[in-house]
Symmetry: C2
Subunit: 388 residues, 2 copies
């Protein structure tokens, strides 16, 4: 066995971060946790530091960083603070692979830096590719950085394309469970609570992505990611309802052959694959039992129920700064919904309104994209009364 | 484009042979049909010769060869006769790829010769690997010959393994439709007619393989083929009922990821893949529509209903000459059933009786295996009264 891979986990206290540490614990000797980073979960990240003994802990929130520093007094772990400290974790010499598991736009800058430094990035954070897909993939090509998908859907496509005739890919099909409300009537949808939205039928995930699953915005963001990760035309990316969340994606080839990846809905599998790629290492969980499962179902997405998916497709076609505007509006609207300030159905209305007011510009730099992100948030906060 | 691949089709007038010619016609300029061979279908092979203009037509039956020679008088096609002429097609200098699509043990010798000559062999004929898997794969390794599977199940596995971490394969799952009688009661099974057996629910195939599908012997033979094609332990090869015949096989990896290949049940797809590999070329047929299909079903094989599958597994475990004995008994029994001489349920009884009388020897040479084949046939013909 070669020397342990040096890992930086950005977003170590979130759902993907925790599961990444699970995977690392289950494969002793394979990995060395070099850096842990989080936004503000001081207690949790300090506990992780005591267990995994990284060289550095970076905390974006300076107050929280102080608490971590106090908790780790007497230990040899360096505690750094501020968003720039998080980004610094991603470019360390001793980091071989960056797990980008932050939530939201906050994850963009560290990924940008990691890619610029030619790192291999296991990408769980959707926003970097959604907001800056074109710039980021160009930068990765230039710097020789590798983006390994962690999302189950994109991991599936990545696995399925290995060794295949890439020129013969006709399209990819992302599957969607339909989220928490797939069987709700339009009237009931208007009255759903944050608690209901957070109980996903098949996956255990963070709050933002779980609400995005209920609106199918999550699938829209995944269509955008797939476009950049696999260099596909938007029309080559289809979405199909599949309530069991067992088939994670399908690749259709020009000869009519379809390859599909199946697994129980457990993020530790795609996380592990990204960490160990190109190897596959054993996992102890019981494998999928197709006979016990009995049947796998597929159906068209009823687009009228899911305006967010349509908006995502429009934004992908528009290009430029449009995805940044959609992403910011979605983050704000989902937060408002989780705070109980708006009904579920208003999420898509806020995004649609934002897009109708947004004048699309070319995505010529990261600064342009980040300023669109700020503008949209500021305008929404200013107009909050109109919506909440 | 490089020069057209030179193709020899052994068994050109059978089901796979005809579909191979369909595939070749649909891809003009890609292939050159150099040799056509058949057992005795004089009229059909002569017509093919006039259409595809091969350099040679080989007819195993000498009477039939005379008819072909007469029919092709005045044309520049060479007509050769006898089994040795069929084998000679497989080793011609101008043949790049041999499509081994003969039915039964008759296909073994030409494949043996082709492999010895280092040819790439698209293998549709099950018997060579079933009867002589160990010898044949060793010979292929030695001569640098490549065996490309044409069976839909093995083509699926072959496609799925490309580019994957081979050491991480935990097992493969072959799917079985259950054949024509999957919903019949044991009493009804005793009375089924050859006509009923020949109406397969999902596939259009030749008579022998269609009856073998109804007994699941076909799946047993495929387990044996998979063992040799992919160098797997017999315990690594599972069989699962899947009535739609859409998922053709599944590969399960040690990390719990399953990769599956799906396509409409149409042999032209795996045939084309073997012909064009490593490229995939477009086919015009409408692709699979998972949403329209709605559901895919899976269940355990009720082994008590399918004694032939159990016998095949026993024979694979026994090794040596046992598979040759099983194969010969199955060929004779299926032929008797198709002639209306025995009831359907007697097929497995004849095979079981043959195996109980067969003393397993090491598979030390092709001659040993062919002599077992002859012995079993002779004994069964001698004892025919006992069974028919």
């Amino acid at each position: 066995m070669s020397h342990p891979k040096g890992i930086a986990i950005l977003g170590s206290t979130g759902s993907i971060g925790l599961q990444t540490l699970d995977v690392i614990s289950a494969l002793p000797g394979r990995f060395r946790v070099v850096a842990l980073a989080c936004r503000r979960a001081a207690e949790e990240v300090a506990e992780q530091a005591l267990q995994y003994r990284p060289k550095v802990v970076a905390v974006a929130d300076r107050q929280a960083a102080k608490a971590v520093r106090q908790r780790l007094q007497g230990h040899t772990v360096e505690v750094a603070s501020g968003p720039e400290a998080v980004a610094a974790c991603a470019v360390r010499e001793d980091v071989d692979l960056v797990v980008a598991a932050a939530s939201g736009i906050a994850g963009l800058l560290p990924v940008w830096e990691a890619v610029g430094a030619g790192k291999t990035v296991a990408l769980a954070n959707k926003e970097p590719l959604v907001v800056a897909g074109e710039l980021l993939t160009a930068r990765a090509r230039e710097a020789g950085a590798r983006l390994l998908p962690v999302d189950s859907e994109h991991s599936a496509i990545f696995q399925l394309l290995l060794g295949q005739d890439r020129g013969a890919v006709r399209r990819v099909i992302l599957t969607a469970s339909g989220g928490a409300f797939r069987d709700f009537s339009p009237e009931d949808l208007a009255n759903v609570t944050p608690e209901q939205a957070l109980s996903h039928p098949t996956w255990q995930m963070g709050p933002k992505v779980t609400v995005d699953s209920a609106t199918l915005m999550n699938k829209g963001l995944e269509v955008m990611e797939a476009r950049w990760l696999f260099d596909l035309d938007p029309e080559q990316i289809a979405v199909l309802m599949h309530p069991e969340s067992i088939v994670h994606s399908v690749v259709e080839f020009a000869d009519g052959s379809l390859l599909a990846q199946l697994a129980p809905p457990d993020m530790r599998l795609p996380i592990q694959f990204a960490l160990t790629y190109p190897e596959r290492l054993p996992r102890r969980d019981p494998p999928l039992d197709l006979a016990r499962l009995g049947a796998l179902h597929f159906s068209e997405v009823p687009l009228s129920r899911y305006p967010c998916l349509r908006l995502a497709r429009e934004v992908l076609a528009a290009g430029g700064t449009a995805p940044a505007a959609l992403n910011a509006a979605d983050e704000v609207a989902v937060e408002w919904f989780l705070q109980g300030r708006i009904p579920f159905t208003r999420i898509s209305e806020i995004i649609a309104d934002t897009l109708s007011q947004h004048e699309v510009r070319p995505a010529d730099s990261l600064e342009t994209l980040l300023s669109v992100d700020r503008e949209v948030r500021e305008r929404l906060e200013k107009d909050a009364r109109k919506w909440t």
